[in-house]
């Protein structure tokens, strides 16, 4: 791809502008569905955009003693990481920026926002934010390994570390949701935890820590950070759609026209998002130690079991 | 649905007579007036012998030359027994009972703020209900603390 098209791909479609719009759209659906479940009306379609624009215009306040440059830079790094991860994903068909091994890279990039939360938590120099940042990382240690293992299973089955290849493999061998449901379940739980959504919104527990590491983010910093997490929701759901639901492929057509492919991926991602959204509405928040207990007793063993099963079946020559 | 229990006046009398005069308005309302120095013993006796396991209220009244403290207790027999004592206005000291009756920890702090009664032996008689910048030594619920009456119909000036 020449430089101009690459730039277009990265910045407009399906890159930055497209992803940002999707992020706001998914935020709208999230808030609307939760509102309806709760018997409320919910915001109008453009609310997330309005909130974003409003936040950009608000005053940025840095608490005394905090590291202002870090607080300004951190949200941008998180945003960049999520966008980079998304660019690697084959949404129109194989990604022009994809390569063998792009799956672990995407996973790593998607882990960055949580690490950024830790950095922001400590840079804000407040008891609430430090505790929140510490919690975010504690959680990371609990769900991240099972999450990676759950996404490792499709890679083993397909025999490749490339997201494009895994999608291709499913066209020939059936959707991985059917052969690896345990991995999908663990991936969904891990994704919900990574995105700090109920029942795993422990780091920012409003009633205990004001807003955890988010407490001292204001104005455009807050706008960018929120956008990063919203984009991470999209990226995460797309990732699950790619690895388990066959990506942009249709039952009879492994390589549809790019417009169709995009629509199909988005539809599948949207379904995944709906599951995460309904879960958010249906539960309260767990305590750190309860999540820890759940993570080690349920999530990790499930993920390990799944990988084991896949290794055995692949090694045994079964598809 | 009323369970007419209560404690017979004679029982209350025999338990608390040694400490002071006992009056029983009815089976569910008794009170005894004790000397401040006998307060802890009287409360101990009341709890043990009259099975008063619930501390209801520490009521305080400014009666002019003294502050009257009323320790109101009850139990499963549903009678209210009020152990009262009077502290001279000039030196309102009495022993703290926070160890005998744990809720007294908070109640004594409140009485201290509002009346200036000093509870000797209380582990931390710090401000509880008055604002942090309220001046020391000014106790608002005393009768001589006058709240200026604005032109409010029906309010008596300077209680």
């Amino acid at each position: 791809m020449d430089a101009l098209s690459t730039l277009f791909y990265a910045l407009v479609f399906p890159g930055f502008l497209f992803l940002a719009s999707l992020a706001l759209l998914f935020q709208y659906v999230d808030r609307k569905v939760v509102a309806r479940v709760q018997g409320r009306i919910g915001p109008p379609l453009l609310q997330p955009l309005a909130d974003f624009v409003k936040l950009l215009g608000k005053e940025v306040i840095s608490p005394e003693g905090s590291d202002s440059r870090v607080l300004s830079a951190a949200p941008l790094v998180a945003l960049a990481a999520v966008f980079a991860a998304f660019l690697l994903m084959p949404v129109l068909g194989p990604s022009p920026l994809g390569f063998t091994g792009d799956l672990p890279v995407a996973l790593y990039l998607l882990t960055l926002p949580t690490v950024i939360m830790l950095v922001v938590g400590f840079a804000s120099k407040s008891a609430y934010t430090s505790l929140g940042g510490a919690r975010a990382v504690t959680l990371l240690f609990i769900y991240e390994v099972p999450f990676y293992l759950a996404l490792l299973a499709p890679a083993i089955a397909a025999g490749s570390w490339s997201m494009g290849a895994i999608v291709e493999w499913q066209s020939a061998n059936g959707l991985l949701v059917l052969s690896q449901p345990l991995a999908l379940a663990v991936a969904l739980v891990g994704l919900q935890a990574k995105l700090e959504r109920a029942p795993f919104d422990i780091a920012e527990a409003e009633t205990e820590l004001i807003a955890g590491p988010w407490t001292e983010l204001t104005g455009r910093r807050l706008a960018v950070m929120r956008l990063s997490f919203d984009a991470a929701l999209v990226a995460g759901c797309v990732l699950v759609a790619l690895l388990f639901l066959g990506g942009g492929a249709l039952p009879g057509d492994p390589h549809p026209y790019w417009l169709v492919a995009v629509a199909v991926v988005l539809l599948k991602a949207f379904l995944v998002a709906l599951v995460l959204i309904v879960v958010r509405a249906a539960f309260g928040r767990l305590r750190v130690d309860q999540f820890s207990s759940f993570g080690w007793r349920v999530l990790a063993p499930a993920a390990v079991l799944q990988v084991f099963v896949v290794l055995v079946t692949v090694g045994g020559g079964w598809p | 649905m009323s369970l007419a229990l209560g404690i017979p006046a004679s029982t209350v009398s025999s338990a608390l007579r040694p400490f002071g005069p006992v009056e029983s308005a009815r089976a569910t309302r008794h009170h005894v007036l004790v000397d401040p120095k006998d307060l802890r013993e009287a409360l101990g006796a009341a709890r043990r012998e009259l099975k008063l396991d619930h501390f209801v209220q520490l009521a305080t009244i400014d009666v002019g030359d003294a502050f009257e403290l009323r320790y109101i207790l009850t139990g499963s027999h549903r009678a209210l027994v009020s152990v009262r004592t009077r502290l001279p206005r000039a030196a309102p000291h009495v022993a703290s009972v926070h160890d005998l009756l744990p809720p007294a920890g908070l109640y004594e702090r409140q009485v201290h703020d509002l009346f200036g009664v000093v509870f000797d032996g209380h582990p931390g008689l710090s401000r509880l209900v008055l604002a942090e910048d309220w001046p020391e030594g000014v106790h608002p619920l005393r009768k001589d603390f006058l709240v200026e009456a604005a032109a409010r119909p029906g309010a008596k000036g300077g209680t």
Partner: protein, 394 residues
């Protein structure tokens, strides 16, 4: 991790009213706490001494929004006892009905707040939506959603119409179904069970020793309810159960409140079905003879006590109020050390704290006759000077 101090309050999202605790924690475990309750001080006990009985009623009503009827009923029945006045039966029934409606809306509010404290906002939205039915009933009957203004010495101020009664019955039917739903939700939702079971545990001995009252005490097996133990108003005429649980934790308190909601609904129905005819108030004298009364009431949060001294005039010589929340703070202070930070909002919310009730004693004198404007520091200095000056003069 070394010990850190986390200030909870006076402004904090877990708190609906200001209170300040300094929580000292090592990592996520609490080691100790310090309490400061002064923020809602308004000088009510003192103010009551300078007003006649009629004017004290609206004053007491404003001690608290959700237990306003409790304070006024407790006061007027105490004054009625001092005066030797008995309100007519219809008035007693109406008072009791409003009292139970208050208990209902307060417990529903609590259920929503409990859900909110653990991040379960769906429960908050649903319970508060249903609570609107009770609020509508109260508004139709008394003219207001909170601070009902129904009580006066001698009886009540407004009568009920048949239309109001019919509408209330219909709403009660809907609510009964919803309450069944909440009972199931509370007992079966996994996050509620995880976050409430085993948290804030108080044994029966501790509950008694610490002076705990209300649903908090009943959840620890303390069988005490003033409506049955020292009955007042129309309670002698109605049948209801006193709800207790043995677990002593926040989950137990949730169950107690949900079942109490169902009992209150039963009581309301009985009251409306048996509502006696007749006047709604007895004529009360302007002054009260010298008397010494202890008036007790089972407010939604627990036992409320007023010690009332009258002296032959038309106002009280002393009104000493002990609210249920003040009685329950000690149990919070006792059950928190050793618990997780995340449990603080849950344990605090479990006693259903009403800080406006807790802090309502004395002070306040805010009229400035000078037209100038003052900065915060100037106002504060002025206040201190005035008080110091007054002390010098007296």
């Amino acid at each position: 991790m070394a010990e850190i101090m986390i200030p909870i309050g006076p402004q904090h999202p877990a708190l609906k009213e200001p209170v300040n605790f300094k929580v000292f924690a090592e990592g996520e475990i609490i080691t100790r706490l310090e309490l400061d309750l002064s923020y809602n001080h308004r000088g009510i006990e003192k103010a009551a001494e300078s007003r006649d009985f009629t004017r004290v009623v609206p004053l007491l009503e404003r001690i608290c929004g959700i237990c306003s009827h409790s304070h006024t009923t407790n006061f007027v029945k105490g004054v009625e006892e001092a005066m030797g006045v008995t309100p007519p039966p219809r008035a007693q029934y109406i008072r009791t009905l409003i009292a139970e409606l208050e208990r209902l809306h307060s417990h529903m509010l609590w259920l929503g707040v409990g859900g909110h404290e653990i991040g379960f906002n769906t429960l908050l939205m649903w319970t508060w939506r249903d609570r609107e039915d009770i609020q509508d009933t109260l508004e139709e009957m008394t003219g207001n959603r909170v601070n009902y203004g129904t009580n006066k010495v001698g009886g009540v101020r407004r009568d009920l119409t048949q239309d109001q009664i019919d509408r209330a019955h219909k709403r009660f039917d809907t609510l009964e179904e919803r309450f069944q739903g909440y009972a199931e939700m509370a007992t079966q939702n996994p996050t509620i069970r995880e976050r409430f079971q085993g948290v804030g545990k108080l044994t029966r001995e501790q509950a008694l020793a610490l002076g705990t009252v209300g649903p908090t005490a009943r959840a620890s097996g303390v069988d005490s309810d003033i409506r049955r133990d020292d009955p007042y108003c129309a309670y002698p005429d109605v049948k209801f159960q006193v709800v207790t649980e043995e677990s002593g934790d926040v989950f137990g308190r949730t169950l107690v409140r949900v079942r109490e909601m169902m009992e209150s609904l039963k009581i309301c129905r009985q009251l409306l079905a048996d509502l006696p005819e007749g006047p709604i108030a007895a004529k009360a004298p302007r002054t009260a003879p010298k008397a010494d009364v202890i008036s007790r009431y089972e407010a939604p949060r627990g036992e409320l006590v007023h010690t009332i001294l009258t002296d032959g005039s038309d106002h009280v010589a002393r009104l000493d109020i002990r609210t249920p929340t003040l009685a329950n703070w000690t149990s919070v202070a006792a059950s928190l050390p050793g618990a997780h930070l995340a449990d603080i909002p849950v344990v605090v919310a479990a006693i259903d704290p009403c800080l406006s009730c807790t802090s309502r004693v004395t002070v306040v004198d805010i009229h400035g006759r000078k037209p100038a404007s003052y900065s915060w520091d100037e106002l504060r200095a002025w206040g201190i000077d005035r008080h110091a000056g007054r002390r010098r003069r007296s």
